[in-house]
Symmetry: C2
Subunit: 334 residues, 2 copies
Amino acid sequence: MPEGVALARDLVGPAMEAAIVRLTPEVRKVAAYHLGFADAMGNPTRSRSGKALRPALALLSARAAGTPPERGVTAAVAVEMVHNWSLLHDDIMDGDTERRHRPTAWTVFGVGAAILAGDALLALAQELLLESEAPQGAWAARCLSAAVTRLITGQGNDLAFEKRDDVTLAECLDMAGDKTAALMACACSIGAVHLGAPPALAMGLAGFGAHVGLAFQLTDDLLGIWGAPEVTGKPVRADLRSRKKSLPIVAALSSGLPEGAELRALLTSPDPLTEQDLVRAADLVVAAGGRQWAENEADAQLAAANASLAEIDIPTDVRAELTAIAEFITARQW
Amino acid sequence: MPEGVALARDLVGPAMEAAIVRLTPEVRKVAAYHLGFADAMGNPTRSRSGKALRPALALLSARAAGTPPERGVTAAVAVEMVHNWSLLHDDIMDGDTERRHRPTAWTVFGVGAAILAGDALLALAQELLLESEAPQGAWAARCLSAAVTRLITGQGNDLAFEKRDDVTLAECLDMAGDKTAALMACACSIGAVHLGAPPALAMGLAGFGAHVGLAFQLTDDLLGIWGAPEVTGKPVRADLRSRKKSLPIVAALSSGLPEGAELRALLTSPDPLTEQDLVRAADLVVAAGGRQWAENEADAQLAAANASLAEIDIPTDVRAELTAIAEFITARQW
C-alpha cells in the first residue's frame, strides 16, 4: 500500500470521527456504523472505513500546493464525507445488502435512517469547508459542489441505463466520468484549492484525478469479471452474473462482431445464467474485444493522468506518491 | 393571501423551473413532478408547487436590505430547493403517500429516484449560491448550510421520538426549532445575507423568522387536531388518529393532570382508535391545558417575532408585508 494511504488513515480517520460528533445522536449512530467507527449498537470498533484513497489524494493535493499534509485534512474529510454520502444512498438505490464485509446501513437501521445519515454527511462536508478560511473555503465548497452534481448525474444515468438495452460505450464512459472520475478529480485538487493554490496547479491536479478516476473505473470493471475473489471480495464474473452494463461488457456488445451479438443474446435472455453461461459470457467479452479495449483504455487514461502531472510544478516526492497511488488503484490483480 | 406570496410565485416559480433544467433528464423528471411543474409522464402542468412562503420571505429579506425583490431570487430559489429536498426525503422516511393532493414522488418513481431527486435539489441550492457573487454567495451558502444541518437534526429527533413514550415538551420545542423554525429563519435572512447586508439586520430578520417558524408550527399542530378539513386537506383530528407527538398533545401529556394520564392511556393503547376515542382525546387535550398552552405559546412567539422586527431599520412596506405573512401563516382556521 502506498505510504500516502497509511498517512491519510492516521490523519483523516480521527478528524472524521471528531466531525461526526456534531451530528445528533440518532444520526451519528448510523454514520459511525457506516464509516466503521462503531458497531450497530454504537460500541466503538476498529473495523476499517474503506480504503481512504480519496483522503490520501486530498492530502497529497495540499502537499502539491507546498503545505504540510495536516493543512489538507479539512478538505480530505469533506471529500470522504461526500464519498460516503453517495455510498449510503447508492446502497439503498441499488438494494445492496453488504459493503466492506458488513451489512449495509439501511439493512441495519432502516431506509429512512440511512437516507438521513447520507444527507447529514453531505451537509457536514459543505459546512466544514464553508466555515474555514475565506475565500478559499468557498472555492473548495464550489469544487466539491460541482463534483456532487456530477455524482448525481452519473447515478441518475446509471439507474436509467439499467432499463435500457441500447446504451452506447460513449454514454457509459460519460457515466463513469460523472460517477467515479469527478470526485477523484475533486479529491486531487481540493486540497490545493482550499489552500488558495494558483488555478493552473489546481487544474493540472484535477486533470490527473479525472484520468486516474477513469483508469480506476475501467480496472474495477475488469476486476468485476476476471478479478480474483480474494482481491475483490466478490465471486469471479460477478458483473456478468448481475448483467451489469460495465465498460468491457458494453464495449463487447457494441463491437459489431458476432461474439458481441451472442453475448447480448445471453445477457438479455430471461433464463437464469448457469456457471457455464458465465464462463462463455466472459470468453465472449474477450473474443469481441471488450477486455482488450478496456485494458488499452485504462493504459491510455493512466498515461494521460501522468501527462497532466508532468505539466505542473510540484515537489518530487508528491509527484512520486501521486503516481504510486494511481498505479496501486489500477493494478490488475487476477 | 399576502401580496408578497403572489409575487414570489411569479418571480421564483420560473426561476426554479429554469434551474432544474441543469439536472440530468432522469432526475429532472422527478424534481419537476414533485415541484408541480410536470405530471408523472413529464408533461407540463399548472399545478401549484406549494405555498411559496419561504420564497416570499426570502424576497422580502432582499427588500429589507434595500434592493428590489428581483435581487433576492437566487436566495429564494435556494431556500425553496432545500425545503423540497426535505419534503422529498421526509415523505420516504414517514411513508407518506400523498402531498399537495398528488401521490408523493417516491410512490410514482420509486424510493431510489426520489432520494436522488432530493439530493439533486440540495446540491443545486448550494451550487447556485456558491457560483453567485463572492463573498456574499459564500455567506448565503453558509447560512443555508446551517439551516440544513438543523433540519437534519430535527428530522433525526422526530424519527427517534416516535419510538419513545417519554418525550418532554422542551424536547419537542427544540425539535420544532430545528425542523421548522431554522429554515424560516434562513428564509427571512438569506436574501439580506446574499446581498451583503450588515450582520445586525440579518440577525434581526433571522430572529423574526425563527419566532414566526415556531408560531407556524404551533398553529399547524393546532390545525392538526381542530383544523377544518377544507383548510388542512386532512380529516379533523388527524394528528390524534396517527398518534403524532405534536406540541399541544405533548403539552397535555406532560401537564401532570389526570386528563393527561387518561390521554396517554388512550394514545398508547394497542387497540385502534374509534371516532369516539378521537373526540374524547381532543377533549382531553383541551382539559389538560394542551390547547390553551399552544395558543398562548403561538401568541408569544408571534409577539417575539414582531419585537425582533421592531429592532431593525427596514422600509415600512417591507415591515408591513413581513407582519402580514406572519399573521397569514399563523391564522387559526377552525
